[in-house]
């Protein structure tokens, strides 16, 4: 193609693919609440449907991740560090992985949540999903960050979002303590193996918020360049 070499110097920006990947992860996260509701109702048909959707979406996010990795040659000069981009990407992907792993255990063991725990667990899941959403809104700000050349105003705005993410994550920690306490009080009445897995499920659910928070902290490192 004649004369077009000027266009060659513009590499593919990693920002949009990164956002696209996070959007895909969020689609996966969005299935979590309907899935958990199905588990709480013990509606195996709906549970299977949502589980499949989660697996599909996690898979799609994985594909996007591989694509993005291939599009980041070392010769690219970017306003953000190449390593940071890949780290954020990995963290985003782990959020989807976290969702998949929680739901996997629940389906695999045909798990039922004991009645006294239900409301608390529902709230925990909701809070985890909120944390993911907050991480996503921070990732959405990347456009504006590049637009302003990482200006201090925009960085401040993102930092505010990340603070909110931190406090959400802390909230899930507290909720976990409460649920464990509820479970502890009734664990002698339940089959021991079930109890073991319930503890594990609480852990894994909380980990989703944990991972969302880690997306945020990697993003913060990216900004601190």
């Amino acid at each position: 193609m004649p004369g077009g070499y000027l266009s060659g110097i513009f590499g593919a920006s990693p920002i949009r693919p990164l956002q696209k990947h996070m959007a895909q992860v969020i689609e996966c996260v969005n299935e979590l609440i309907p899935f958990i509701e199905a588990v709480l109702r013990h509606d195996t048909e709906a549970r299977a449907r949502h589980h499949k959707a989660i697996i599909d979406r996690e898979h799609a996010a994985d594909t996007l991740k591989k694509e993005l990795r291939l599009h980041l040659p070392t010769s690219l000069f970017m306003p953000v560090d190449r390593r940071d981009v890949l780290e954020v990407l990995t963290m985003q992907d782990r959020v989807a992985g976290g969702v998949r792993s929680v739901t996997g255990v629940m389906v695999g063991r045909d798990m039922q949540i004991p009645e006294p725990m239900k409301q608390q667990y529902r709230e925990l899941v909701k809070c985890c999903v909120d944390a993911c959403m907050t991480a996503y809104s921070a990732i959405c700000e990347l456009d504006e960050l590049v637009e302003t050349g990482f200006g201090s105003k925009e960085v401040e705005l993102v930092n505010d979002i990340l603070d909110e993410l931190d406090s959400l994550e802390q909230e899930t920690d507290e909720q976990q303590v409460e649920i464990r306490h509820t479970l502890f009080k009734m664990e002698s009445d339940l089959p021991p193996v079930d109890v073991m897995f319930l503890y594990r499920t609480i852990d894994k659910t909380g980990e989703i918020a944990d991972r969302a928070q880690r997306v945020g902290s990697r993003l913060q490192l990216m900004l601190a360049k």
């Binding site: 513009f10 593919a12 010769s75 970017m78 959405c140 200006g151």
Partner: protein
């Protein structure tokens, strides 16, 4: 002089060919940034390019033309054989034009300026002798090829930093854009007018000097600014834009600004690059008309006109397609960045044109883009391609030179 009509005819034909090649290929790089940033549609870009390339070539192209015509070669050794210089200049034109055609067909990043300089040096060294080249001047030109992208980069960096500080990184970017963008528009008009007045207009009979120049340039700047303000007034905030990307309205204001920098870029390109085509033609014309190596004859206006027409022809026949292709590929460059890169490049190029130094417009523009990138303004730049563009002159110089030598001997064989 024997064959004088032949010489003139060939010079005009080759010059037109070369100018056509510049219009067909080189202009794309100057204009495609505007099309890519969606500041101009393809039609508008061609329109702007045609008018301002023509003006730049005709009004401010004289200085560089003089350098190419008589600054590189010391012809004192061939005073008794002036036709050698004619063959050489014809050969250089043909060599550069053909090399450009081949290279751009293959998609190699070559510079028109580097091709013609390489060709002239090549024929002079082989056809006349090592001492016939003003190596000092050539050295100066070579240094400018390194300095010009760097200077453009520094300017672009500073401009973009100022944009961040004044507009993007504030509480009210839209209001501030309305306030400050006219200042940048003023700068575009002022700088272009100033350089043209200082260095360009003597051959069209206008000779203004002293503080008057600055006054007139400021006047031109103010007029451009008022036109710009009218354009900016028509931009309004896009409702509901906060959802996805908050700077879309701001970018629209920069889009208005970019129309002006695109004009400046086309003007600058015309002023510097037309010389690549008409410099050798002017040399031939002056030898033929005086019958000797009279280097004092003034530059004929029709020669510049020939180059300007050639560029517009190239643009109209082939260049628009290249602009369309390149424009589609440059989408990462939003108006706020595009204007910084373009304004920096245009300023550097017209400054160089004013001092008569032939520099590469493309390389200067690449320098400007890198400057914005260094200010963390661009998503990703492919450094490998940048290196390839910057290194291209290493092959372009000898390629142009060797071709020129070949054509030189062919022409000498035909005419003597």
């Amino acid at each position: 002089m024997e064959f004088s009509l032949w010489y003139l005819g060939l010079a005009a034909a080759f010059g037109l060919f070369m100018a056509w090649g510049i219009g067909a290929n080189d202009v794309a790089n100057a204009m495609a940034t505007s099309v890519g940033a969606r500041a101009l549609t393809l039609k508008q870009a061609i329109f702007v390019a045609a008018i301002f390339e023509f003006c730049g070539a005709f009004l401010a192209g004289g200085q560089v033309t003089a350098t190419i015509r008589k600054g590189i070669i010391d012809a004192s050794e061939i005073v008794d054989r002036p036709e050698y210089l004619v063959y050489g200049m014809l050969a250089s034109l043909l060599a550069a034009a053909i090399w450009l055609l081949v290279a751009s067909r293959r998609g190699w990043p070559v510079s028109t300026t580097h091709s013609i300089i390489g060709a002239i040096i090549g024929f002079a060294v082989v056809g006349i002798g090592m001492d016939s080249v003003h190596w000092g001047k050539v050295g100066q030109i070579a240094v400018s090829w390194v300095v010009s992208p760097m200077l453009s980069g520094v300017i672009a960096f500073s401009i973009f930093m100022s944009v961040q500080k004044l507009i993007l990184n504030t509480d009210q970017p839209f209001e501030n854009a309305r306030k400050y963008v006219p200042v940048y528009i003023f700068l575009v008009g002022f700088i272009m007018a100033l350089v043209t007045l200082l260095k360009g207009l003597t051959h069209v009979g206008l000779d203004i000097d002293g503080p008057k120049t600055y006054a007139i340039a400021a006047g031109v700047g103010l007029v451009t600014m008022s036109i710009g303000i009218l354009g900016i007034r028509r931009v309004s905030i896009i409702p509901g834009e906060n959802a996805e990307f908050r700077f879309r309205s701001v970018e629209k204001i920069f889009g208005v600004l970019m129309i002006f920098t695109a004009c400046g870029m086309a003007f600058a390109h015309g002023s510097n690059d037309v010389a690549n085509a008409v410099g050798p033609v002017a040399a031939v014309v002056s030898i033929v008309s005086t019958g000797a190596l009279g280097q004092q004859s003034p530059l004929s206006t029709w020669v510049l006109l020939l180059g300007a027409i050639g560029i517009v022809l190239g643009l109209a026949t082939f260049g628009w397609r290249v602009i369309r292709t390149v424009g589609r590929q440059i989408t990462e460059l939003t108006p706020s960045r595009g204007f910084a890169a373009e304004l920096a490049a245009a300023t550097t190029v017209v400054l160089a044109s004013g001092t008569g130094i032939p520099i590469s417009t493309t390389h200067t523009l690449v320098g400007g883009v890198l400057g914005v990138g260094l200010a963390r303004g661009i998503g990703a730049l492919n450094l490998r391609v940048v290196a390839k563009i910057m290194m291209s002159w290493v092959i372009t110089l000898p390629a142009g030179g060797i071709l020129a030598v070949v054509f030189f001997f062919i022409l000498r064989g035909i005419f003597s």
